[in-house]
């Protein structure tokens, strides 16, 4: 069903890319800049088709570098904005992920992951950009990253991604993969009044009083937009609360620690994960994205063999739920971490486990999903 303002409701049969586009519309996104790249192109195609009726603006830019900064200009123009890409394009965007972190620009970067490095496997899945999402731009900073595992979650989680970006004035990485992007399933779009949307935290302070980088009690400064009389100055240089460049170690320390702490110290608020029979488990599989669905089968088969195996599925991968993993590690024999890369999040798990239990990587170079028997074998081995 389509309502007067062009927003859809009800049950639809959508692939993950299209569901992501619909979720962005439901979240209030009204500006998208993008550049074609497999396997993410369907997201922007859908938005180019849908935006005229929902009041949004789509522009196909000349490259991903342009896309990743056009959205930030749009945010300062008052829009809710995102860009969409995959491996090579995301690599080009890295400098602007740093700018968004530094200038505290709420926006969303969708990465429909494909096999890499370089041009790699354009039409096939991987989860090998998880560390890039966290560390790809230079300098110290923090972002938030979500990992959906179905078209329905592409819809639901992209709304959550926009909400988190507004709440924390931070860029949010939306880590899909080719298999989810191109998987078609039922997607239920709730009535608009049932969609929880976090509004931008616009300041109510008058010009002269408002400072674009003066943090509130939660370490997050309020927002404004151009044309409101605030005469803001926004810079990627190290800056004071006014936004003016200050080139010294004190200002750097104050700013960068706050950028990092506003995320790290709110990890419990941001984190989101699902647990299945983790209490009393000997082995816990930690998974995210498409791999969590393959893991479900491996876990079921292991349980049928009498193994006490739990499944922890990360909805938010960054910031990493350090405390939770550390506490779990003290109660179990082993973590098993399957992911479509040669070991990325497994090192976070291992770091947090801190030697309290074994950590087993179930790696995969990409191109398809794991064979569930490989994960099953790792669970059985870890349970010994």
């Amino acid at each position: 069903m389509s309502s007067k303002n062009g927003k859809f409701t009800g049950a639809h049969y959508l692939d993950g890319d299209h569901a992501c586009a619909e979720g962005a519309i439901a979240a209030g996104c009204n500006f998208v800049a993008g550049y074609p790249i497999t396997p993410s192109t369907e997201v922007v195609e859908r938005l180019a088709w849908r935006f005229p009726n929902t009041g949004g603006t789509f522009i196909q830019m000349e490259d991903e570098i342009a896309s990743s900064i056009a959205i930030q200009g749009a945010v300062w123009g008052g829009a809710k904005a995102m860009t969409v890409s995959s491996g090579p394009g995301i690599s080009l965007m890295m400098e602007h992920i740093g700018l968004a972190a530094m200038a505290e620009v709420p926006c969303v970067f969708v990465n429909v992951q494909r096999g890499g490095p370089s041009t790699g496997l354009p039409t096939l899945p991987a989860q090998a950009d998880m560390m890039q999402a966290r560390w790809g731009s230079h300098g110290d900073y923090e972002i938030i990253a979500l990992a959906p595992n179905s078209p329905q979650e592409c819809f639901d989680y992209i709304i959550r991604a926009f909400n988190l970006s507004e709440k924390y004035r931070v860029p949010v990485m939306f880590m899909m993969d080719e298999s989810i992007g191109h998987m078609t399933e039922k997607v239920v779009i709730p009535a608009q009044d049932k969609v929880e949307v976090t509004p931008r935290r616009f300041t109510s302070l008058p010009p002269g009083d408002y400072l674009p980088f003066r943090p509130g009690d939660d370490m997050v400064p309020e927002m404004t937009k151009a044309g409101e009389g605030h005469r803001i100055h926004i810079s990627g240089l190290t800056h004071d609360e006014k936004g003016y460049p200050v080139m010294n170690a004190d200002c750097q320390d104050r700013l960068v620690r706050r950028l990092v702490d506003k995320i790290r110290k709110n990890v419990d608020d941001i984190s989101f994960f699902e647990e299945d029979k983790v209490d009393g488990a000997d082995v816990v599989v930690v998974s995210y994205g498409i791999t969590s669905r393959v893991t479900t089968r491996a876990v079921r088969d292991a349980r049928n063999k009498g193994i006490k195996v739990g499944h922890l599925r990360l909805g938010v991968v960054w910031p990493f739920p350090e405390g939770h993993i550390r506490a779990l590690a003290s109660r179990i024999g082993a973590f098993v971490v399957p992911e479509i890369n040669l070991g990325q999040i497994v090192y976070e798990v291992e770091r947090c486990a801190g030697g309290q239990c074994k950590t087993v990587s179930v790696s995969h170079a990409g191109g398809t999903v794991h064979d569930p028997t490989v994960i099953y074998d790792s669970i059985m081995e870890a349970a010994k």
Partner: protein
């Protein structure tokens, strides 16, 4: 209070005086262009609350930081795509991109071409001082053949860009070139550009006495201004193909292009109306 304290420079109200003194060297022309710019704002009756300045990185990229408007100091080469998003998100804004030739034409060259092609409603002011000054005097895409820079110590051997020709051929609807010696003409061109619908482009040639003039033994900032005075010819409507700049040869200045073409904002609005009108 002393008598001098009561005198306010007429451009002060447009500047972030709490950031003065600026970083520019004695004899540099960038400050002169800023002076021209604020006079252009007055002359063009620009709504100050709806004016946004976007700069990239470099000496000219610092302009955004000194102007007391909504101002954005973005990343190297990317002022134009940032400005594109800003303008499309709020078409009521008057968005001016103010940066140098290395930023706009080298690393940002692709964005420049496409913004002109789209005819997006932006004014681009390019301060051309023939080198990368912030980083110490490396050659840029406009350094003339035979001029030297730290990365071409034996002289440039590749052809530089002719910026008015580049802008016109990509689709700019307003193109002018002046020097910092032409302060009235520069201010007038900036005002006209800001009141032009679509993609307008003003190139301002500027001295960089600390680096370009010194390394090329062209004297001081003042010497360069005198050289500009004696070696520029004003030729409004000149064929931009003839506007190449050769080392220490006559330079053609003037307003070269002033044409009408539907702007991107207008075309997007028309397209949206045609789509939603059908549904």
């Amino acid at each position: 209070m002393t008598a001098t304290a009561e005198i306010e420079n007429p451009v002060e109200k447009y500047l972030r005086m709490d950031r003065i003194p600026h970083i520019w060297c004695p004899g540099c022309g960038i400050g002169t262009t800023v002076n021209c710019f604020v006079r252009a704002i007055e002359r063009g009756k620009v709504d100050l609350e709806k004016l946004a300045i976007v700069s990239g990185i470099g000496c000219s990229g610092r302009v955004a930081g000194y102007l007391n408007f909504d101002s954005f100091h973005t990343t190297h080469g990317r002022a134009i795509p940032f400005a594109t998003g800003l303008k499309l998100a709020n078409p009521e804004l008057k968005v001016v991109v103010y940066s140098g030739e290395g930023d706009l034409i080298a690393i940002g060259g692709n964005h420049f071409m496409h913004a002109a092609r789209r005819n997006i409603d932006l004014t681009v002011i390019c301060i051309n001082n023939f080198n990368y000054a912030m980083t110490g005097g490396q050659v840029s895409p406009t350094t003339p053949v035979d001029a030297v820079g730290t990365t071409a110590p034996f002289g440039v051997c590749e052809r530089p860009f002719n910026l008015p020709f580049l802008a016109e051929s990509c689709g700019a609807v307003y193109v002018a070139r002046w020097t910092t010696n032409h302060v009235r003409q520069t201010a007038k061109a900036m005002a006209e550009a800001m009141n032009k619908k679509g993609f307008s482009f003003v190139e301002v040639l500027s001295p960089c006495p600390t680096l370009y003039e010194r390394r090329n033994r062209l004297g001081s900032g003042l010497d360069r201004m005198l050289w500009f005075k004696e070696n520029t010819v004003i030729e409004h409507g000149a064929d931009t193909r003839t506007c190449d700049i050769e080392f220490q040869k006559k330079i053609i200045c003037g307003k070269f292009v002033d044409v009408e073409r539907p702007s991107l904002v207008d075309q997007m609005e028309a397209k949206r109306a045609s789509i939603t009108g059908r549904s």
